[in-house]
Symmetry: C2
Subunit: 105 residues, 2 copies
């Protein structure tokens, strides 16, 4: 499995709008069997900060999702209101609650 | 909802053992209705690094889990092989795939 937690910084006043685009995106993610988890959260310490936490079957599955027409459309809508990105944490999920068991990480 | 992503650093050579304790812990987490997600992952850039990603119904639910006898027993087993902790990211999940919809974040 492939896990990714990253921070996105919205233009001031645009965080709710950016979150709405990301949540729209999760509708198409829901049909992707390689997408196990996609959580959109606000940063309580940063009024412009958004954290996205993802778990994918593989890094290839994650990469493939970026090429979907729906994802490209979303990126086009979201890009103008993204100031930048913060931390980016990659990890290799082993197990736990809320994701499938994976013996081949 | 309450989200937490944190890094734990295992003693050299003890990461697999520490992960096994954390995964044991997720068995008792599974019965907790306030625990939505608990993912244990390795850090591909740090051979001693473990990332734990959690989503709880509330911060109180998270806090309460730390008082459980099973959690206390786990902490006692794990503490000797934990060198320290790294980043600690708190966030407020709004929605996405893999967690319940929450209109009251």
């Amino acid at each position: 499995m492939y896990g990714l937690t990253g921070k996105m910084i919205a233009q001031p006043g645009k965080r709710d709008e950016l979150i709405s685009y990301l949540l729209e995106g999760t509708d198409s993610m829901t049909d992707l069997e390689g997408c196990y988890l996609y959580v959109v959260a606000t940063d309580p310490a940063d009024p412009n900060g958004i954290w996205v936490t993802e778990v994918w079957r593989s890094q290839d599955d994650h990469q493939a999702s970026l090429s979907l027409a729906s994802t490209q459309a979303l990126i086009a809508k979201a890009r103008p209101i993204i100031v930048g990105f913060g931390e980016r944490i990659e990890n290799t999920p082993i197990g736990g609650k809320g994701i499938p068991k994976d013996a081949t990480s």
